[in-house]
């Protein structure tokens, strides 16, 4: 039914959609508010000065022109998270000028690289009145060292651009992608401490050296980057004195204009696996079996342990599995999972190495996972399965946008908020987390569409809160549900490792007043006018 509706809308209604301005929330009667204490004259003055730097065609101020920066998936029933403008510099000098102007007019700037973090807020700022500083035009690949396995990038480079460059030039290095690689930025994802699925999946761990435009417009290089003649900017992370790179991640202390990253040499052998477990209750067994393999690095990549519902939501619609309005019961899920070659939990990992090393490790891992009750599958058995293909692609740094399919699980309104609480990698904790998440989600009428990313010693519980944003009741319920998830998980000691603009302050509160005060003290010292991304990670 929904399928037919969507197709009908696309086929016959596109022109009408364009004419009506559907889906933008745009309204000439409700312009986005300016930053606190700023007048229309201040805003106009800043925008005029921005135009003198980047040219009129790269400054966007009226409501229709700003629309591409306002599309979000997160719950925002009150329309709070909207920018007032956007400015798109093409080089570092222009960024410095924009920052100086922002100080003059006290105009806050919300910096984005490619602005494609999906359920975390896209290009929307955390507080009203900000102009998006959109760095996508700065997309130079500045250096690639094939011997050292390093690169130096500008923020607007996408994973697609980097991969194309490596392939065009026959450089045998891999990239490590998050799930929306083609349109996302290695610099942006690393700054938000995102993860990927090769052995280089903990992105910030593989970052080396930054150039940062400070809130006063000066440029600072971290690590070895400020030493004239050093060849080690992308080779040695720590430099001398306090290690400061972390201060520029998930923060608003500077604008990262260049970043060094380490790239993994393409291994001679890559062998992906999928382990199917038949019951939702198998959660602790899987994690207990996988942890020693991860801690010892016998399994070197970040595993994804995907629930059947999360997997099905990528390529199916909810009403193909249960009727609209009915709960997503376990029997229906099991039936759909089985019909699609899936278990109730599907854990993906890969081996990387030579013929000999892979052959030596594989039996150890098979024995351990089979003993946990799992069926260990490889490409030989899973050929043609779209879910296996998706993960086989990700775990070698391949590109796809399959996960955008999640947005159609429930109606066509495109609602998604990621909730990502962290725990230690222990089976008993995961079991409690899953039970709590299901209780809260089901109470608000939503499904447990979730995965665990099993890191080196940690678990990221990645919960996709999927809702139909075009349905006001669901939209409001999703907002309430998200807050309850954050609050009740936090009370158990499980706080988010990263969160959307709709909940940055809420999560910051959980990390405590001493931590907030330290962040605030730094902020006031280096950005006294508060012009860089107020509200990012709850820092104002």
């Amino acid at each position: 039914m929904t399928t037919i509706d969507r197709r009908g809308l696309l086929g016959t209604g596109l022109a009408a959609t364009a004419a009506m301005g559907l889906g933008t929330g745009a309204s000439a009667k409700n312009p986005a508010p300016l930053a606190p204490g700023r007048s229309k004259a201040d805003f106009a003055g800043a925008m005029k000065a921005f135009r003198s730097v980047v040219g009129a065609e790269w400054v966007f101020g009226d409501e229709e022109a700003v629309a591409p920066w306002t599309k979000t998936y997160i719950p925002d029933p009150s329309g709070h998270y909207k920018p007032v403008g956007a400015v798109c510099p093409e080089n570092v000098e222009q960024v410095q000028e924009i920052v100086r102007i922002a100080n003059t007019f006290k105009q806050p700037l919300w910096t984005v690289s490619t602005g494609k973090n999906m359920g975390y807020g896209m290009t929307a700022p955390a507080t009203p009145g900000q102009v998006v500083l959109d760095l996508k035009r700065m997309n130079r690949i500045l250096e690639v060292d094939a011997d050292l396995g390093t690169c130096l990038l500008e923020p607007g480079v996408t994973y697609q651009q980097l991969k194309d460059y490596l392939e065009d030039n026959n450089i045998p290095l891999w990239i490590d992608v998050p799930t929306v690689g083609p349109i996302a930025s290695p610099v942006g994802n690393t700054l938000d401490r995102g993860v990927g699925y090769t052995p280089y999946g903990e992105h910030f761990m593989f970052q080396c050296g930054m150039e940062v435009c400070l809130p006063d417009g000066r440029l600072m290089r971290t690590g070895m980057g400020s030493i004239k003649g050093s060849t080690a900017w992308q080779a040695f992370k720590w430099g001398y004195g306090p290690y400061v790179d972390g201060l520029f991640t998930q923060s608003n202390y500077g604008i990262v204009t260049k970043m060094g990253l380490w790239l993994m040499p393409r291994p001679p052998v890559y062998k992906p696996f999928m382990v199917r477990h038949p019951e939702m209750g198998d959660t602790p067994k899987i994690i207990e079996a996988m942890r020693p393999l991860r801690v010892s690095s016998l399994v070197a990549n970040c595993n994804l342990m995907m629930s059947a519902s999360y997997q099905l939501a990528m390529f199916k619609r909810r009403n193909e599995i249960v009727p609209d309005g009915a709960p997503l019961d376990e029997a229906s899920l099991k039936k759909a999972a089985k019909a699609n070659g899936l278990g109730m939990w599907n854990t993906y990992f890969a081996l990387y190495g030579t013929e000999q090393t892979v052959a030596a490790i594989e039996p150890i891992i098979r024995a351990q996972l089979t003993a946990s009750g799992g069926e260990v599958m490889t490409a030989a058995e899973m050929e043609g399965n779209p879910w296996f293909h998706h993960h086989q692609t990700l775990m070698q740094g391949g590109l796809n946008l399959d996960e955008i399919g999640l947005l159609r699980w429930r109606g066509s309104g495109g609602g998604l908020a990621w909730f990502a609480p962290v725990a230690a990698a222990r089976g008993a904790e995961a079991e409690r987390q899953t039970a709590l998440a299901r209780e809260i989600l089901e109470k608000h009428g939503f499904d447990y569409t979730a995965a665990y990313a099993i890191g080196w010693r940690d678990l990221h519980h990645i919960i996709a809160l999927l809702f139909d944003k075009s349905d006001p009741a669901q939209h409001a319920a999703a907002d309430a549900c998200y807050r309850e998830l954050v609050t009740r998980f936090g009370a158990q000691g499980w706080a988010s490792y990263r969160t959307g603009v709709n909940s940055m302050d809420l999560v910051a509160q959980q990390y405590g007043e001493v931590n907030r005060d330290f962040n605030r003290t730094l902020k006031h010292a280096i950005d006294p006018n508060g012009i860089l991304a107020p509200g990012k990670s709850g820092i104002v």
């Binding site: 364009a18 306002t70 035009r137 083609p182 955008i404 066509s412 495109g414």
Partner: protein, 109 residues
């Protein structure tokens, strides 16, 4: 170096001539303007016609509506900003999509 090599070289040159603006990105330079086929392959085509988004080729959708939806996003589809796909690239892309034939192998959901 025989006829085969000469033939292969000639074919490669012909292929390059037949594809406008397929310049690869160079070290230290921003991405050069892309032809519609490239934008489709590297952005749109990951979803449309491949499990995730509806088929849009071969349906003669109006170019104006394509431009609008690309800039605003629709439902699950993200919005693409002028900083990502320039106005000139988008105009050519929308025109190309609206005229393109259907592709075998593409499928919607």
């Amino acid at each position: 170096m025989g006829t085969r090599a000469v033939l292969a070289g000639g074919l490669a040159a012909a292929a390059v001539l037949a594809m406008p603006a397929l310049a690869a990105q160079k070290l230290g330079e921003v991405q050069p303007p892309r032809a519609p086929e490239q934008v489709y392959a590297k952005v749109c085509g990951y979803c449309h016609g491949r499990n995730v988004g509806p088929v849009i080729l071969g349906r003669h959708l109006p170019a104006e509506a394509i431009r609008y939806v690309a800039r605003h996003g629709q439902n699950g589809m993200p919005a693409f900003r002028p900083s990502e796909i320039s106005d000139a690239e988008l105009a050519a892309l929308a025109d190309w999509i609206s005229r393109a034939d259907a592709r075998t192998g593409e499928h919607g959901q």
